[in-house]
Symmetry: C2
Subunit: 385 residues, 2 copies
Amino acid sequence: MSERNRSVPSVGMVGGGQLARMTHQAAIALGVGFRVLADSPSDSAALICGDVQLGDDRSPSDLSAFAKSCDVITFDHEHVPEPVLRELEKAGTVLRPGPDALRYAQDKLLMRARMTELGAPCPRWRGVATAADVDEFAAVTGWPVVLKAARGGYDGKGVWVAGSGEEAREVLDGAARAGVPMLVEEKVVFTRELAVQVARSPYGQVAAYPVVETVQRDGICHEVIAPAPGLDEERAVRIQELAIEIAHALGVVGMLAVELFETESGVVVNELAMRPHNSGHWTIEGARTSQFEQHLRAVLDLPLGAPGATAPYTVMANLLGGADPDVYRRYVHVMAKDPGVKIHFYGKEVRPGRKIGHVTVLGDDYEDLLARARDAASYLKGDQQ
Amino acid sequence: MSERNRSVPSVGMVGGGQLARMTHQAAIALGVGFRVLADSPSDSAALICGDVQLGDDRSPSDLSAFAKSCDVITFDHEHVPEPVLRELEKAGTVLRPGPDALRYAQDKLLMRARMTELGAPCPRWRGVATAADVDEFAAVTGWPVVLKAARGGYDGKGVWVAGSGEEAREVLDGAARAGVPMLVEEKVVFTRELAVQVARSPYGQVAAYPVVETVQRDGICHEVIAPAPGLDEERAVRIQELAIEIAHALGVVGMLAVELFETESGVVVNELAMRPHNSGHWTIEGARTSQFEQHLRAVLDLPLGAPGATAPYTVMANLLGGADPDVYRRYVHVMAKDPGVKIHFYGKEVRPGRKIGHVTVLGDDYEDLLARARDAASYLKGDQQ
């Protein structure tokens, strides 16, 4: 059904993934219009949203047709090419965030240059064209180093760790063949990974969420603990201030996630994302205003909601697909075992290693919460019988 | 979009009001299928749900066509006639709650007789056919008395207070013309109104929510305070036990709301509802499992979720339409004034006195929360400029 209510604005989200799915839930409560541009009717958001347009999110004509029925366009991902965004903007479409901000989430070279300019703490880095550039860099930082595709990637990857000049050469050869610009970064020795989210509205209002710890394995976020246990309060505030500074300097509108490494001596910025982010799924139950509602408020230039926590600790664990495709049968048992676990399924077909949902638990003792969340996730994946 | 995922069950809700709208939000997180049978594309749930069938909720053919694509049928209201429900059930449709339970929510005479049989505390009552019956009743209880239509009502009303035999005669004459069976109840002198919700699954599992205070004005629920302030703990437990007993005795599946009057000497049962209920909207943020998720779990025979409170107090205030149809413009100011207020709009056209949404606030001091919720509701209605 898509009876458009003209007295409330309508937000269009490009991309039909789980971020759009959860943003739809928030849009229902706010009573604003919400449309999704999806690739396929089986996309996570397309399965449940009442107002879906199918189309290609890189096609100027599909995007501009979609934009015609929306007051504001926002994004579930960063894949819309900058020239397409510029064209839409020139035609009068309101893009939030706009291409001037988004390009820093789309291009890691631009991002690093801008972060360095702002004085934000970064790993040592440089753009590289040849293996000799990498050798030169590693002569200073030591091996291994991290090679990153500035935009996109190839062979389904965007980040490589190279332990030697030879390994670096292989990666760069592949990148050259694929026409992908590359950068190298020192491999940061970190004690843990942190993330912080802020929302910024066109009016310039900001709201900062508590700094969280993210637990990654094999490059995939497995758990998020909010707030990051034992984080020095002064450091937490400095991290929030850093994110706010970045949001203002880059002109971000909507949610900004800043992923960081915590080291012995402080923090360094790892990545930026300008949309709701996996590190903020805990906010659905764990914060007074979820990141999805906050993103909508921000892109609609509404006053922002309170970002404070609703419990001393919230732990989120991603649900990764396992060998058993019948996850419904499995989750009945998780529900029976722990009636306090909040389950979020994305409606996606189960494939091994694929993010198909998440669980959230709230309480006082984060170690207990982490054990419960891990238990639910491992049972759902099929690691336990 | 309505790609049905065959590996998860699909719940069909009859009725496209705000209860279906909020149940849709809960169904998204659970990852189960959710369909709505709505009267019109502008129904509250039809506006946002991805899987809507338009049809008449009293038509056997529309209902059975709808039921074909659902594993379980449940209800946003009590208006489907019992014979239609019986026919569906005979044809193999899984109805939760089923007609054996639902008739007690559809017929106040049946309900009173059954409550009396169970020994549940009730106001004095009797079925009445003539004004003489009412006079006889009032000779014992005194005037005024409450006259109720056993089913439905007439002239848009179902409850009348009669202060004299003459007033009673007028009401009964109207009822006789409309063919509506009537009952009379004593007018209970109460100190306040309470409500309790329990969920029950076909397996027989139950979960009881905290007892709440409901604040009614002109027969409309204005606010709900959870838990009911100052309620004696023993009485609270007895009320929960009463609701559980009713749920079991009536074979309720899904949410059951029991509305009560609290008097000097105890409580008496006022009304029953077998679906998510206005007195439970506070559970979206205020309980670990919302009534909407719990209803879905129950009708799907899933293990029930934890019903405990997430904050010491939660206050919900209904948003009633005022003279200004542009409620969006007004809510911007409410958001700016109180970033902690949770707003829920139902997407309905604004009409004076119509329930168009609700707000929820959570915290430690219920008087402060009540003031904030009332302030938001009165501003949105337009009572404040």
